[in-house]
Amino acid sequence: MKILVCLKQVPHQDARLDLNADGSWIKEDGIKFEINSYDTFALEEALRIKDADPTSEVVVASIGPDRVTQALRTALGMGADRAVHVKDAAVDGSDSLGIARVLAAIATEVGPDVVLMGLMSEDNNASAVPPMLAELMGVPHATAVVKADKGAAGFRVERELEGGALEVVDLPLPCLLAVQTGLNQVRYASLKGIMAAKKKPLDVKTAEALGLTGKVGAGAAKATIRKVYHPPKGEGAEILSGSADEVVAKLVGKIKELGLL
């Protein structure tokens, strides 16, 4: 089985979020990046399929500047077979549909039986690219997947609904699964894996090479982020000050006042 895993590199969850000069996004220089947590679960799921069927091939793909190489090397170290890195300033400023077009072009070259990716990214929180990519590829999809069982002809998946309910759906191959966090326990790259990863292929591609000139990037985007800002503060919490002992005394006082102590 051939599996395409789409990864996004996002600011580290604990990174300080300062705004850039024109207030259109965060300031990215000087902060740490990591693989989007949702995508790590997608990669793990792909690697488990390969563990069970070693004839499987896991291809990881990502879009972005030089820093993305590190994310792809990590994925190769965890066990992916090869990587595709679309590194091209012409892709900068793409909206979700532009990103989906880039990934669809990669999917055409790879020819996967299944595409695995995270339900959403930790930065833009949009959940937009997976269903768009499935539409462009002309394959069925499921989102918020918390369980994926591979059968002979396809996958039986469980989708997360509200309040802990689940929907069970059968999807034939090829298909796309956008996974929820927590569907497996993600492995770490072993030292042996990291060493082996150095010899695995990592292809760097441009938008032009993928036949996407003029179809992606800021010029083709149908929606733009005009500005980002810290949400207006409401009344918010009364923040207690003082030493730890003073703070604890005030907390105990409040719990007593609530009649709970």
Binding site: Q13, L17, I26, L97, A100, E122, D123, N125, A126, S127, P131, M132, A134, E135, P140, H141, A142, T143, E158, R159, E160, L161, E162, G163, G164, A165, L166, E167, V168, V169, D170, L171, C175, T181, G182, A221, K222, A223, I225, R226, K227, V228, Y229, H230, P231, G236, A237, E238, I239, L240, A244, V247, A249, L251, V252, K254, K256, L258, L260, L261
Partner: protein, 316 residues
């Protein structure tokens, strides 16, 4: 006047309230309103929507739509978008909306805005990003736009309307996704909904052994229950029954103490109805402080054990 199509949803045999929130959103946006209802045996529900502000309601009534099906929904919504000439298509950001809306947007070659909680003149849509830490204003450049709207962001439309219904026939052959069943949440183990006091830990607790060492003792000292946020459960530190949030338990205790929880939207939805909220977090900018009444910006490993000891002393 620009045409708007609203994709209504059914829940327990009726149009769900989130769909009437879409009516309110559409009225704020301004335009000629159309709706589409999908399901099997849904004429009555479609009538109800038409009478409560849904405008012209397209009815896709087909046995193949008895349960949600991504291919069926995509086809039927596309057909309704064509029939209504919609410039704007609105979904609720629910398990249906987040599954199919972006797919419809790609098919229509439209702009897509996810989980908007407000719209300003332009239109400019406002949404929350970075797990609640920032807001973004998103403007469609031109042409069609598909938007999912955050449930609960606007009050549901409560007025009446003189809408109409029209049957919409769609070829639903060749659907590839097949619905198997819906599994309801299992209610084994911890029922946090009945707890008067909940002490919850998040990613900031740092390691699984810290829950029995640090969080549980405070919960026990107060005679309450221990809870957790999603990352804790995802990491396998605690089982799912401890999870508070939109995909876990929705709780309303008299006192909720959040320790090392930053306050992602999905967690806030599950606990913001608590009578009193105390938050302890090292990050002063954490969104949890927006819903808490009392906050401590500091190290939970210093504060929580001292608080546990003080509670025990106070109880004698």
């Amino acid at each position: 006047m620009a045409s708007i199509l609203l994709v209504a949803e059914l829940q327990k045999g009726a149009i769900r309230e989130a769909s009437y929130e879409l009516v309110a959103f559409a009225k704020k946006l301004g335009g000629d309103l159309h709706s589409v209802v999908l399901g099997s045996g849904i004429a009555g529900e479609a009538e109800a929507l038409a009478k409560r502000g849904g405008g012209k309601v397209y009815v896709c009534d087909d046995a193949a739509l008895a349960n949600y099906n991504v291919d069926g929904w995509a086809k039927a919504v596309r057909a309704a978008a064509d029939a209504s000439g919609a410039e704007t298509v609105l979904f609720s950001n629910t398990p249906v909306g987040w599954d199919v809306a972006a797919r419809v947007a790609a098919g229509l070659d439209a702009a897509f805005v996810s989980d908007a909680f407000d719209v300003r003149p332009g239109p400019v849509f406002v949404r929350r990003i970075f797990n609640g830490k920032l807001d973004a204003e998103v403007a469609p450049v031109a042409g069609k736009v598909v938007v999912t709207v955050q449930p609960g962001a606007l009050a549901a439309f409560e007025g009446t309307g003189s809408g109409s219904t029209e049957r919409l026939s769609v070829d639903l052959s060749g659907l590839r996704a097949k619905f198997v069943e819906t599994k309801v949440a299992s209610s084994k183990g911890v029922d946090l909904t009945k707890a008067e006091i909940i002490v919850s830990g998040g990613r900031g607790v740092g390691a699984p052994e810290k829950f029995p060492e640090v969080i549980q003792p405070l919960a026990s000292a107060l005679g309450g229950a221990m809870g957790a946020s999603r990352p804790v459960v995802d990491a396998g530190w605690l089982p799912h029954e401890y999870q508070v949030g939109s995909s876990g338990q929705v709780v309303t205790p008299k006192l909720y103490i959040a320790c090392g929880i930053s306050g992602a939207i999905q967690h806030l939805v599950g606990m913001k109805g608590s009578n009193y909220i105390i938050a302890i977090n090292k990050d002063a900018d954490a969104p949890i402080f927006e819903v808490a009444q009392l906050g401590v910006v500091g190290d939970l490993f210093e504060i929580v054990p001292k608080l546990t000891a003080a509670v025990k002393t106070a109880k004698g």
